[in-house]
Structures are given as C-alpha cells and as structure tokens.
C-alpha cells in the first residue's frame, strides 16, 4: 500500500551547509500491517514521517525518490490534493500530546473538526460521531472528556484524544511518532493495548516510530532499524529479537533486553551502551556510518557504504558482515 523508494531528504538550515537527514530509504507497508521504525534521537525518524505527509518545514530544500501510496505518487501531489489525503487516508499522531492539541478548544470539538475537514457533514452529526468514537476508545467518562479542555485531561487521556483525531476518518495508514514517550509505564501499556485493538478492529496500517525496541516489540509485526538517515536492518519483529544481524541492532537490543533463561525479571548487573555518539547531520561520513562505533569493524568498512543485502523475504541488512 505504501511504497517508498530511494527517499532522500536534505535540509538547508539558514546560513549553513546542506545536510541529508534521510538518505536513500526504501521500505513498504502492506495494508493492515504494523511497522516499527526504530532508532536513536536525531537519526531522521521524524523527518521520514513528516515527508510521508509532505509536512516538512521550509528548510527542507530537497526531497528526492518516490513515495507511492496505493497508485498515487505523494511527491507529485498539489497542496489541495494533499489536504484531502491528510487526516483522511494518512494521518499522523505527533510527539507530545500536550502540545498537539489546541489549549483553547474543547477536545470533542477538535476531533470533530477533523471530520468536518473531510466530509460535508453537519456540526451536530460530527459531534455525535466523535461521541461514539470516544466511547469505543475506552474512555471511562467519554462525556466529560468530550467537553473538556486539553489541560483538564491527564497525559493518557490526551494521547487517546489525539489518537481519536488520527483515526476518526478511518485512514488506511496512521503514523505514530513516539506516541508513548511522554507517558507513565502503566498508561504506556494501556495505549499500546489500544493500538493493538485498533489494528485488529479498523484494519489500519501503522507506522510506529520509537526509540525503544521494548515498546515496538509489543505492537508491530515488522521493524525497520534506522541509523544516520539510513535503514540498516529490516526484519520481522520475532526474527529481529531472536536473531539480530546488524551490529547496531545488536547494540540497541542489548541496552534493553537481557537474555535470561530462568524466566524471572532481574535488574541488569551491567548496563551496556553503545560507545560514542551517532554522527551529527553535518558530519562527513566515509563508508559505513556506524563504523566508528561498531565493535565488529573490518577493513572494508571505511572504504565505501555497504549495500543492502536481501537475506530472505522481508529481511534485509546493510553490513559487510553479510556481504554488503
């Protein structure tokens, strides 16, 4: 349903040199599929998400490649066609629900506005639809939420309200940019359960962006690992957890999971991390971008960038260990 080929996004911040935030990215999402995008801060996850909706800021000077949504090339669409698409076919849940709701509009009304932007329905009808949706989303007191202003809600309630905005028009793809980062662990798992529920109920495809493999493991079918604007590994969730290939993925997973065989939780005795920092957007990269931090670096690594190696269906990796 969504096919991204060779997507490159370059920014030119005022008065500084051009930088590529997303570099030659290929991936696809089938309808109804939940895909995770995993990576550290600043690796281009949000830029990738914004470019799917063509919401990039004006400093993005170059967007190359192709994004096919069904049969439509998104990069070729005009502003009014994009408007019809956003929210109706593809919608996005932004980071930090506190600030993605207008503080001076009632929550119910803000959700209803999304319907009104796409369907010529009366105000009352829209409000009724929103009430019904809020009931479905597991709000215990949907009526209060409907009439509340954002500051009167808890973080979890606000996030649900934003989710309601995103799915109220039943889009076929929802992009969720770190939807649980700002929440308590208990609320976090409630929201994740809600996503799983929505996936089953609405047949919506999700692109779930997170920096935590633990969170992605709970909701997505497939994971794309992103590093320095490139997708370095792509695999089914179960595969990637059981048998990660790319040294970066291995490092990331080791930060979160410990292989225990007795089946009990225990605090980690050593807290591993990946030494060094991801390259900044302005840094020049020779060869593999992960090479300076890679525990398994080889001679080839600085010479050129590794190519993507397709290992089997839906499994790919960019590393010289596997042929690159």
């Amino acid at each position: 349903m969504l096919q991204v080929r060779g997507l490159t996004v370059r920014y030119r911040p005022e008065g500084r040199a051009e930088v590529a935030a997303v570099n030659q990215v290929d991936f696809s999402i089938a309808s109804g599929e939940a895909v995770g995008l995993l990576g550290e801060s600043g690796c281009g996850k949000t830029t990738l998400a914004l470019s799917l909706l063509r919401l990039l800021p004006a400093t993005a000077c170059e967007v190359r490649g192709s994004i096919f949504f069904g049969k439509t090339e998104l990069l070729g669409l005009g502003e009014s066609e994009l408007r019809r698409l956003r929210g109706a076919k593809i919608s996005m849940i932004f980071q930090e629900p506190e600030i993605s709701l207008n503080p001076v509009m009632r929550v119910g009304e803000q959700i209803a506005e999304v319907i009104r932007a796409h369907h010529p329905k009366g105000r009352q009808q829209c409000l009724d639809e929103v009430r019904a949706l809020l009931d479905q989303l597991g709000f215990s007191d949907a009526h209060r939420i409907f009439n509340a202003y954002p500051h009167q809600l808890s973080g979890g309630q606000r996030q649900r309200a934003v989710i309601a905005q995103a799915i109220v028009c039943k889009p076929s793809l929802v992009i969720a940019d770190e939807p649980t980062t700002a929440l308590d662990p208990t609320v976090q798992s409630e929201i994740l359960a809600l996503f799983n529920d929505l996936k089953a109920r609405f047949q919506t495809a999700f692109l779930f962006i997170s920096h935590s493999p633990a969170i992605l493991a709970k909701v997505v079918d497939r994971i794309l690992v992103m590093y320095a604007g490139r997708i370095v590994e792509e695999a089914e969730t179960t595969q990637i957890l059981r048998h990660p290939l790319h040294p970066y993925t291995v490092g990331l997973l080791r930060c979160v999971f410990e292989l225990g065989d007795e089946g009990a939780f225990r605090p980690r005795r050593v807290l591993p991390s990946i030494p060094g920092n991801p390259p900044g957007p302005t840094d020049l990269i020779h060869g593999c971008p992960f090479e300076p931090r890679c525990p398994e670096r080889m001679e080839d690594c600085t010479a050129r960038e590794p190519r993507e190696v397709k290992l089997e269906d839906s499994r790919g990796v960019r590393c010289f260990k596997y042929g690159g």
């Binding site: 919401l55 698409l85 956003r86 932004f94 709701l101 207008n102 506005e113 999304v114 932007a117 796409h118």
Partner: protein, 345 residues
C-alpha cells in the same frame, strides 16, 4: 473570564458617550447650525432655583441674556430678570429625521422661545456650543473609531499574510510598513488630503477622513500582528491540524489568529483616541469637515483668534471633552492589557 468591574464601568461610560453623540438630535436642544446673531459668545446659561422675590422653585429656570448697557464689548451680557423661562423636558423643537426616515421634533430638554438654553455657552454666531459638541462628537468620536477599524482590518490582513506565509510576502509587506512608519503621519495626512478637493460635502469629508487616517496607520498593527503570528504558527497543534488536512485559511482562523485577538483589542483602544486626535488636528487646520457642520476640531479652531482664547473660556469645552475621552480610552487600554495578560497566562 473578565473579572474586573472597572473594565465594564469604563466600557459603559464610553458606550454611553458614543450613544448620546449618536442620538445628538434628541439630546441636543438645538440644531448645530441654528444661529442667534444678536448674542454671540453668550456665556453658559445659569440655572436658577430662586426667583428675585426669594421664592424657591423645584423646576429650574433661565433668564434671557441681554447686552450689558453701556458696553461695546462682545459677550458682555446681563440677565434680564423680568421674565423667567423654566427648563422643560421632552419638548418639541427643531425638526430632525431618525435614521433618515422618521420625522421627529422631540428633544430631551429645552426652554421656551425667545429664551435659549446654552449649557456650554454659544459661539461667535450665537450657536449653542453644547448642541454643536454633541453633533461634533458624531464626526470626531466615530471617525476615530472607524479609522481604527480600517487600520486594524488592513493591519490584520497584511500582518497575517506576512506572518503566516513569510518569505517574499513578508519582506514586501514589512518594508512597506517601515516606509509608512518612517513617514511623519501628520504630514502624510496633509499630503494625502492635498490631493483631494478642498470643499466636499460633510458625509464625503467624514468618509474621506476615516479612510485617509485609517489607511495611513495600518503599519503598526500589522507589525504587531505579524510578530504574534510568527510564534503562533509554529505551535505544534498547528502542524498537527495541518497533518489532519486543515487548509491555510482554516489554520489562520481557528488556530493562529485567535492568539492575536487580545492584541487587536488593546490596539483598538490605543488607536481610537490617536485617530480622534488626528481628525481633530485636520479639522482644526481646516482640512476636515467644513462649516457649518461641527467637529471638535473645527470648534476648537475658533481659539486660533486671540480674543476668543483670552475672553471666552467656554470655547475650550470641546478640548475638555477630548481630554476626558482620551483618559477613558487610556484607562480602557490599561485594563484591557491586564485582562489580556490574565487570559493568556
């Protein structure tokens, strides 16, 4: 949302001033052009309660002014105590039209002819200053208010375009704004006024004043609104709404411009008195509405004569009215600004 009684008080006083001025035909005892040449510069009528015999009357009364015997000076008058003229309410007087349709001749108060009641004295043609003050307020107060409306509307549109779209639009609009700000507004008004014919009918003169004053002053509100919009458009919920398919116009209307409304209110309260003063200045210099139609500016113009300035204090009354209106607007500004702050934070 608004907790302050002071705001309502100021608004009520200002609103009633505007309403009284708007219904000047009723509240003024005379037409603005009716003259009494025999007694120019008559001082304000004295309201008496006690007659020469020492009897007290509940209903106040006035006497006729007659020139003081043996003096040649203008405006030296004594009261003729031979006949009293009681003050009456809801009397018939000069005819006028309500909203240009209904004929009426009712006035709030008046005295029987040949006496005349001058609450604020009369001018060199013996015209009632109080009536002229009310009629003049129609021009002065409303030209200020309407010019502020024109300025704010222009400023809102141009400032919103500049702030929301940025880039070339922003550059062009803001450079123009700087040009307008750099020009001294009074001379700009003179220049614009100089292009237009000198003698034009009062309604046209009024509309011309409103348009000229309003259009010259768009730059300041435009700059302020642009500033507010520059930060307002960067809010996350604006991006989120765009992501849900909102159009530019919708974003402006629902998410971005509301942040500038408080500013718009205070600007209105700030600009209105400034523009009243602009109208007064133009009319004072004879570039506004012409005689016999009064405005507070051309009423004050008689003070340009030295003997008027020194002898007839009641000719300052329009100035007094101006100062009170300005003080009211100033207070309104202050209270509004506090309220806007309260609402925002």
């Amino acid at each position: 949302m608004i907790r302050d009684h002071k705001l309502w008080l100021i608004l009520a006083v200002l609103a009633s001033a505007h309403l009284i001025v708007l219904w000047a035909h009723f509240f003024a005892p005379y037409d603005f052009a009716s003259q009494e040449r025999a007694i120019p510069f008559a001082p304000p009528s004295r309201l008496h309660f006690v007659d020469p015999e020492g009897h007290f009357h509940m209903r106040p009364f006035v006497y006729l002014w007659e020139p003081r015997p043996g003096t040649e000076t203008l405006g030296a008058y004594v009261e003729d105590h031979s006949q009293a003229f009681p003050l009456r309410f809801f009397v018939r007087g000069a005819r006028y039209k309500i909203a240009g349709i209904f004929d009426s001749s009712w006035h709030l108060f008046g005295v029987e002819e040949p006496a005349r009641i001058y609450l604020a004295g009369s001018d060199d043609y013996g015209r009632d200053q109080f009536s002229r003050l009310l009629y003049g307020g129609q021009i002065s107060l409303f030209s200020g208010l309407m010019a502020a409306g024109v300025s704010l509307a222009l400023g809102l549109v141009l400032g919103a375009l500049a702030g929301f779209y940025g880039g070339l639009v922003d550059d062009v609009v803001m450079r123009c704004a700087e040009l307008f700000l750099a020009l001294p507004w009074l001379y700009l008004l003179f220049a614009v006024r100089a292009f237009l014919p000198l003698h034009i009918p009062p309604t046209q003169a009024f509309l011309m004043l409103v348009l000229v004053i309003g259009m010259v002053g768009w730059a300041r509100p435009a700059r302020l609104i642009r500033g507010v919009l520059l930060s307002a458009k960067e809010r996350n919920y604006v991006l989120a709404a765009r992501g849900f398919g909102a159009s530019d116009f919708y974003l402006l209307r629902r998410h971005v411009l509301p942040e500038a409304y408080g500013l718009l209110l205070t600007q209105a309260a700030l600009l209105a008195p400034q523009y009243i003063l602009a109208e007064v200045t133009l009319s004072f210099l004879g570039l506004g509405v012409g005689e016999p139609v009064p405005s507070w500016g051309n009423m004050l113009a008689s003070l340009q004569k030295y003997y008027v300035l020194t002898s007839y204090w009641w000719m300052f009354v329009p100035g007094l009215a101006l100062v009170s209106v300005f003080l009211l607007y100033y207070q309104l500004c202050k209270v509004l600004q506090e309220q806007v702050k309260l609402v925002r934070f």
